[in-house]
Each structure stands twice: as structure tokens, then as C-alpha cells.
Amino acid sequence: MPEWKQEISERLRGLRLEPAREAEITEELSQHLEDHHAESLASGATPEEASRATLAELSDSELLARELRRVERQVAPEPIVLGTNRRKNMIADLWQDLRYGVRMLMKKPGFTLIAVMTLSLGIGASTTVFSVVDGVLLRALPYRDADGIVAFSEVDRRNGQSSLVSPGNFLDLQRRGQVFAETACARPWRFEIIGQGEPEELNAWLVTDGFFRILGVNALRGRLFTPEEYRAGNNQVVVLSHRLWQRRFGARPEVIGEKLIFGNASFTVVGVLPPEVEFPENRDLWSPYIIPNNAAQVRVRGFLQTVGRLKPNASVAQAQAEMEAIAKQLAVEYPGANTNTDLKAVLLRERLVGQVRPALLVLFGAVGFVLLIACANVANLLLVRGAARQKELAVRMALGATRRRLVRQLLTENLILAALGTVIGALLANWGVRVILGLKEGLPRAGEVGMNWRIPVFAILVSGLTALLFGLIPSLQLSSPDLQNTIKEGSQTTTPAGLLRRLRSVITVAQIALALTLLVGAGLLARSFASLLRIDPGFRSDNVATLQAHIFRNYPKPEQQAAFFEQALEKISALPGIQAASAASAPPLIKDSIDVEFKFGIEGRPQPAPGEEPTAFHTVVTAGYFETLKIPLRQGRLFNQTDNAGAAPVTIINESMARSYWPNENPTGKRIAVQWNQPALREIVGVVADIRHTGLDSAPRPELFLPHLQQPFGSMAFVVRTADDPGTLLPSIKNAIWSVNKNQVIRHIVTLDQLISQTLEDRQFNLLLLGIFAAIALTLALVGIYGLISSSTGQRTQEIGIRMALGAQRGDILKMIMREGAALILLGVGLGLVGAFALTRFLRTLLFGIEPTDPITFLGISLLLVLVALLACYIPARRAMRVDPMAALRYE
């Protein structure tokens, strides 16, 4: 009888089964064959016939093995030798690469930590800025077909200043505009709530029919206004903003249908708007606007926010062309008001975010630089680390790994770094966005900044590109090691010295160049800020509080208005701790005051052509206003209590006005025709110093002042100078005003110092962010050059030792190393200066008082960078200088 087991195991040999399994199969199959054999014999076959028949069961020699191979698992899949050229198992390779990569990274925790931190800083910062740019600039407005909505403005051709649209011009552009499907306007309004605690005022928009249609907005609750409600008598209805609904009405749905009492009229709530409606700006409520009949004549004061929806095929360019044509017609028809007025139509989105776009784009660019520098740093780290791994890679290559395979392994390690950097960067970005929104309160569309799919996509894209960028160069360079040399026992572990150093030098030069560009940008902003702070606003803002009161409703008559302010000022002045108290229709910096430019006439001069009349801003003030703000008197006298209704009409002008209209004369004693609501020929009794009315960066403008006793006005702000911090006195000041009339709403309670710092906020924000980015860039670049020089001196210890043994002085060594560093630094600074010259013009709108190519900034920053970079070289150079020649030579 043949040896069945042997027959079978011969056939199984090629399969390389696990020994136990192979034994099991052999046993089972040999039993079968034995049975078969026995049966054949029993049925009368000769032993030879029986053996032959039984062997036939195994069929040809291959069949069994072939069939079993499909079913049986082979012995532990052959070990994946790193770097082998097996393509069939990509996933297993990848997994292997990942595990191997993680192990390698864990072996060098210091390297990994620094690399991941650098990357997460770069990715976090760029994702932060991208999130803001995305929410503010990129995302579509939350209105239907937002790219068909335009906003209008008037532009004064003489100074380029834009303002809102006057009712007369709005009616004309509404009537004449052909490219618009519909136009509408909104005017700011206030509703007073009296008799429930402190009198409060709600800010409202009165809107014409079509306003909501143009925006494509629907009510969140209830409804918007019906066409009937835009008719006189039916317009006592309001729609609440989402914020007011939440704040004052606890988000109750039943509020719809309730009546609200404003002043002495009652309004029915018909609806609530969704939260994203923030145009023209978020206000408390909305009500129908019925344009009064006489509005067509009002063309000088633009106060209407106007919007239009383009007809389906019309473009903004067409709209603008039409606006220009209409402006020309109006200039002919109304030469007095419209000679210098251009009408402008821009996309609503442009109106909302056009102001912040330059700053955001600059920051976005800056953060891109930071990311590049971070990449360069990590690439540098990888290069150094790669040099140390040279031997490992050489061994793997000797064992048959292809370059391709090694590059993949290295790239996988980089991807792990990038992935870690992304995760931490995302957390940083999450925090950074909140910090930015906290810092920049007035940012338009801030509510729309937040998570959406584009942000993770951006972060992943950035980190993927980053991994390629910082990883590919070292990988390619590393994966062609000089096998022979590297693998030799005892040889130096830093083979590709030349190439490696050149690459690292290129990276370091690039880092220095990028850092310099950012530093110059930050330096320009810093110098702008400093020169702004040096500006004298022309008034003293310390310890001054302002409180605004619109008293038209409570005191419709001029005499009543004058009396109210006189009485209130008397009460305030009587309070302890008050140094001076006064009031003005438009004190500096208060945005919501009635601050208007009017024409005036000069006695004895010929009537100018229409549109050529002299103009000045008109401000009504009480006696003591200039003293309160400490605005210096230049000529003549200030107002006093005798400049009242019974006395001769007088006025005070500022220096700008004096210079503009009486360049070589003394204006005091001259008379001008002033057309406030009581036109009069007024004698100029004094000239006061200029002030920066709307902020430190605003230019002084011609201004004239009217005494309120001669020209009472129902909207003035109290300006109160206190001995100490005005904040503590505010409650008693308010009570003093309420002691005259307890229903008087007081608004905009704020100190002048607060207002000044508000005007600086945007610049501060830009400076802070760009400064942070530049500081990061500088640090990374310094780390880069320090690392380069110290590793290069480390590698040259032996050479230095020989040089010193042959008689080189310590100073020579220092010079040699510093020269190497200085060459890189100067090259980097040179390239950076070129970059800065090319790029800083994008900063122009953000600068104040200096040119984008300000030589002092360029020179100063370059010097600073050269100095600190040389210092970074000096530390390793000094170490090299102290090398003991004997020790260095034994180092081998």
C-alpha cells in the first residue's frame, strides 16, 4: 500500500499551510484514500489496481493544491519588508507606513512637538482668517438673488465723500431708472417708550413699499406690511427685528397682534423678521414709510438708505451708467443742490463689506505668508532629521526598496504631521475666530462667520498642500542617498552635505524674505498708528461725558427747546464734581448727531454760480461749549449768555473756514448769511481752533457755530466735563436731566475717550493681527537661521578643529561663520525688500500719514531684522569658536 500521507503532503507542500492545518488535512484525506483502497481490495481488485484507482482520486498533481489554495489561508502572509516593491497590497503598505511613521515620530518627541506646533500655528492662523473672510466676503448675502440688489449713494464730486440719498433724488431715480424692476428706501426713525421705567428709545427703519420684496425677505412670524398699510392712516403697524423680539418680548409668538405705545400713538405688531436681516443695519423695528409730499424739494440732506432690484438681464454697470445720466439731468434741473452730486449704484454686498475688504485681504495675504514660513520651518526640521536618518534609508534601499517606496514612506510621515497639525490648528482656529469677532465688534456680517463645509475643506486643502510642500523636497532629496558611503560603518552620518546645506540655505533665505515683507507691513501700520496718536484732535477728551437728547416731540417750539437745555444745564452744573457743562447739536465723534453741511453767503461778495456757493458744517452750541472741550480761541471772543434772541445775530467760525474764505483777512466783524431754519445775517465774533470732528484721521473742515439762544435746536448732546472719572457721575447727570422732564429719552451716553478709542479700533485690530503674524514670522525665521548655522557649525567641528590646530585664531573662525550667516541674511533681506516694495501698496488704504514705501520703515525694519538675525547666528558661532582643537579631532 502506498504511503498516502506522503502522497498528500507532497501535493500540499507548495501551499505553505500552517503546520497544524496541513496535518489535519493530510489525516482526513489519507483516511479517505485508505477507505477507498480497502474498498477496492474488498471488491476484488488486485493491490496494484486498487492503488492505481485510489491515486486517481487525487487526480492530476496540481488539482488539489489549486482547489485548496482558493479556500485555505496561507501561513502568516509573508512579512512586508519596508521598501519592497510589492504593489498589490497598497492598503497594507499604507497601514504599515502609518504605523512605522507614528513609531518614528514618537521616537523623536521633541522634533514632532515642534513640527506639529509650527504647523498648527500656520494652519490655525490661516483657517481663522479664512473663516472670517469666508463669512464676510465670500458667502452670498442672506437675501434672495443677492447679486441683483444694488444700493445707491450720492457722492460729492469735489471731495469724493459719499453720503446717503436725499428724498428728492430718490424720487427722481425711482421715476427715471429703467434698469430696475423696483426701488425702495428706508429712513432711520426712533420710537420712544415712556412710562415704563427709564424712558427708552427704539431705533427703527421706516421703509417704503417694495423694500422687503427687493431683499427677498419674508417674515419669520406673522407677516410683513400689506400695500394698504403704506397709505396714510393705516401705517400704525410695526414688524419687530428678531433681536428685539427676543430681548424685549421673550420670543413670545403671541406678541403678534399686540399693541405697542410709542409716545402717544399705538402701533400693532404684525410680524417678526428673521435674524439674518441686517441691512441697512440691525435695528429694533420696522414700520411703513410714507414719503411726504414736500420730499421732492428736499435734495440737500441725504438720509435715505436706498436699494433697487435689477431687471433680470441688467448689470450693475448698466445701473451705474444710468445713474450717471440721471445725475447729469438733475444737475441741470436743480443746479443749486445737484451741481456737484454724482449718483452711484453698487452691489449691496459691496456696500456692506467694501469698507473692510482691503484690511481682510491684507490679513489673509499675511497669514498665507505665515503659513509658508511655517512650512519652510518644518521642511528645514525634516531636512535635518532626514540627514540623521540617512543610514536607515540607505539600508532600506540596499534591501531593495525603491526610491518611490521610500518617498511614499516619508510622505506618509509628513501626512501624519500635517494631520496632527490640522486637528490642533482647527481647534486654534475655532478659538481664533471667537477672539477676532470679539476684537472687531463692528465687523459687518459678523453673525454669518461660522462653521460651514468650506472651512474644513479649506483647512484640509491647506494642510494637504502644506504636507506636500514641506515634505516633498526633503523626501526627494533624501531618497537618493549615496548608498556606498552611507552604509559604511563609522562613516559620518551626514552625507549629502552640499545639497542639504544648499537646500536649507534656500529655505532660510525665503523665510527671511517673507518675514521681512510681513515686518515691513506691520511696521507701516505701526508707524501710521503712532502718527495718528500724535495728532491733536483740537479738543481735550479726558473726563468728558456726552448724553444726547432729541426733544422735538416734547418741546416743538424753539423757545421751549432753548429753555429745556438751559434748565437742564443749570441742574447739571449744580452737581458736585462737575467742572463745566454745555451742549451742542454735533459735538465731535458722536455719529448719530445732526451734523450737516449748509451753504452760506458772505456779505459784500458777488453771488456765486449755483453749486459754487461756500459751504460749512453748522453746529448749534450753548455758551461754554468751547470752554468745556477746551477748544482754543484764536481771535475775537466766545459766546456768552448775552448772545440771546434779543441781541445782534452772531456766529463763531473755525480756522479752516477762516482760511478758506478769508485767507488774508481778519474775519471777525465780517457778516455772513446763515440759513438754518431762521435765516439771518450774522456777525463773526470769534475764530476757534480746528478740531478733528469724526476721528483723529479725519481732516479739519470748515465749521461755523451758532448760539442756541438765537437759534434753538431740538437735538443736542450734553457735553459735561467732570473732575474725576465721568462714569461715576453719569447717574446723577441723567437724574438732573430727568428732573426737568422725566419722560425725556437720553441716548448715546458715552465718554469722549471711549469714542476716540472706538475710532481707533479698526486700525488697532489690523495692527494687532498683522503684528502677531509678523512676530510669528520673525520668530520662525530666526529659529530657521539659528538652526541652520548651529547645525552647520556642528557638522564642521572637525574642520574647525583642524583650522585651529593649523593656527587659525578664534576671531577668524567667528568671522568665517558669521560671514556665512550674513550672506544668507542679506540675500533674504534684499529679496524681502523687493517683495515689500511690490506688496505694500495694497496697504495704502490702511495707512495714515505715510507712504506705502516709507523709507524709514523699510530701512529700520531691515536693520532690525539684520541685527536680530546676526544675533541668532552669533550664538552658534561663539560656540564653534570655543571648540577645543584636540577634542574636535578626536571627535571621530
Partner: protein, 117 residues
């Protein structure tokens, strides 16, 4: 051509039905490989037969799928043998295959039956 096609048809038919055959043979009680082999041969009147080289790989495959389970059983006075029994999942597969087979046969019969009618 016809010849080759017939052979392919034969082979596929056998392969497909072999699983069904094995499953149904061990439905009633566990059997070892040689027993299964013999039963197929005898019950088909010699029309179907399996070689060792094809039967056991098939058994292992079915076992791997979890339809049958092999177990070494030692009985007094005998050497141990590996018995295969139907698992719960195997029972489900068998039921499904059986009904599929029956409908297949029925379909074939309908076609060939009408042709001959």
C-alpha cells in the same frame, strides 16, 4: 462547439449543484467525507462522483462560509474521523438553494416539456 458548450454546462451545473448535494446529504445527520462521497455516487446511480481533490476543498469552503461544521469524533475502537454537520445558517442556505433548484428544474421541465408536447 456544441460539445464544448455541453461540457461547460455540465461542469457549471455540477459545481452549482454540488453544494446543494452536500448540504442535503448531511441534513439528517453528520457524515464524514468518505461517506458523503459514497452516498453521492450510490444515490446518483454512478452518474455523479467526486474526487478527493474536488470534494474536500469544497467541504472546506462550505465550512469557511459557516454553512457546515467539521468535527473530529473519536469512537471506541475506531480511529478518529472528521464529521460534518449542517449549521443553522447552512439550513437556511439549503432551504433557499433547494427551492431555487426546484423552481429551476420546474422551469426547465416546462420548457423542455412543451417543446416535446
Amino acid at each position: 462547439m456544441t460539445n464544448i458548450n455541453t461540457r461547460i454546462f455540465d461542469r457549471e451545473l455540477k459545481k452549482g449543484s454540488a453544494e446543494l448535494l452536500i448540504l442535503s446529504l448531511i441534513e439528517a445527520r453528520p457524515r464524514h467525507g468518505y461517506e458523503i462521497c459514497k452516498l453521492i455516487e450510490s444515490r446518483s446511480g454512478g452518474a455523479l462522483s467526486f474526487h478527493v481533490a474536488s470534494l474536500y476543498p469544497l467541504l472546506y469552503r462550505l465550512e469557511k462560509r459557516g454553512w457546515i461544521k467539521g468535527q473530529w469524533v473519536e469512537k471506541a475502537g475506531q480511529r478518529r474521523r472528521r464529521y460534518y454537520k449542517l449549521t443553522a445558517e447552512g439550513k437556511k442556505v439549503l432551504a433557499a438553494q433547494r427551492s431555487a433548484w426546484e423552481s429551476f428544474v420546474a422551469a426547465i421541465n416546462r420548457i423542455t416539456g412543451t417543446e416535446h408536447a
